[in-house]
């Protein structure tokens, strides 16, 4: 297979892995339950006004307002790309500091960064490049925050109901 086509397939696989990592961790840390700051709730209400679902909108507001597991996954992939597992753990420390700067009391970002560090370094053993996980995470966040807020907030609200609220 042509090497750039192989890299493209790897990026799509990495996007799916990153998507699962950050959505599962954000739902476990109850991001759709309430806005961490008033701005996050306001983004949720504006998305609901355009036909979206409120819990999904609040989760998207929380992702905008503080580094969550998606930011942790991206920065951990950057860290592993540059310096291996120690780089990923340095990224986790920086996400932890970033959470405190953004008045976020939670640990979703730090947890996501640590889990992504080990997932990305595990995938390098089977031929993936950490660079592909950087692009994969950018595509994963694009599907939630950048295509249709109405549909992505409804999907997140559905997953939130499946988790049990």
């Amino acid at each position: 297979m042509d090497i750039s086509l192989l890299a493209f397939v790897h990026i799509l696989v990495a996007a799916a892995v990153c998507w699962l990592n950050f959505v599962v961790i954000d739902l476990l840390f109850r991001l759709p339950a309430s806005g961490g700051v008033v701005g996050a709730s306001a983004i949720g209400r504006h998305i609901e006004a355009k036909g979206g679902a409120l819990p999904g909108g609040i989760m998207m507001g929380n992702i905008v307002s503080s580094p969550d597991a998606s930011a942790g996954t991206l920065l951990a992939a950057c860290g592993v790309f540059i310096a291996g597992v120690p780089g990923g753990l340095l990224a986790a420390l920086l996400v932890f500091i970033g959470n405190r700067i953004c008045h976020d009391p939670g640990y979703a970002g730090t947890t996501g960064a640590v889990s992504a560090t080990f997932i990305v370094s595990g995938f390098t053993l089977i031929g993936f490049s950490p660079a592909e996980f950087i692009a994969g995470m950018v595509i994963a966040i694009l599907t939630i925050q950048g295509i249709s807020h109405r549909h992505s907030s409804r999907l997140l609200a559905y997953l939130w109901r499946v988790r049990g609220g």
Binding site: S4, V37, G39, A40, P67, I134, I141, G146
Partner: protein, 85 residues
């Protein structure tokens, strides 16, 4: 193209797309998720373009900075007070 160049191309395409969506969205609060995608793409590009240990710090500082700005813009539009102060 090697994997790094392919990843950089994907980040650049997503960044341009997100920038266009930010410009076209009329509602300020609904602009912010698109801006979030743009920040992801730029932070990823920083690490891909400059593979140096300090780039991790640069990408994290850029990303946390833009997040804090979005947080401040959204909270100001919503009434200005952080509930947990």
């Amino acid at each position: 193209m090697n994997p790094q160049d392919t990843a950089l191309a994907a980040c650049a395409v997503v960044a341009v797309y997100a920038a266009i969506r930010v410009a076209l969205e009329p509602d300020t609060l609904r602009k912010l998720p698109f801006l979030n995608v743009l920040s992801f793409a730029v932070a990823g590009s920083i690490a891909l373009l400059l593979p140096h240990p300090l780039s991790i710090v640069a990408a994290a500082a850029y990303f946390v900075g833009t997040t804090l700005e979005s947080n401040a813009i959204a909270s100001t539009y919503a009434g200005g007070l952080d509930r947990r102060e």
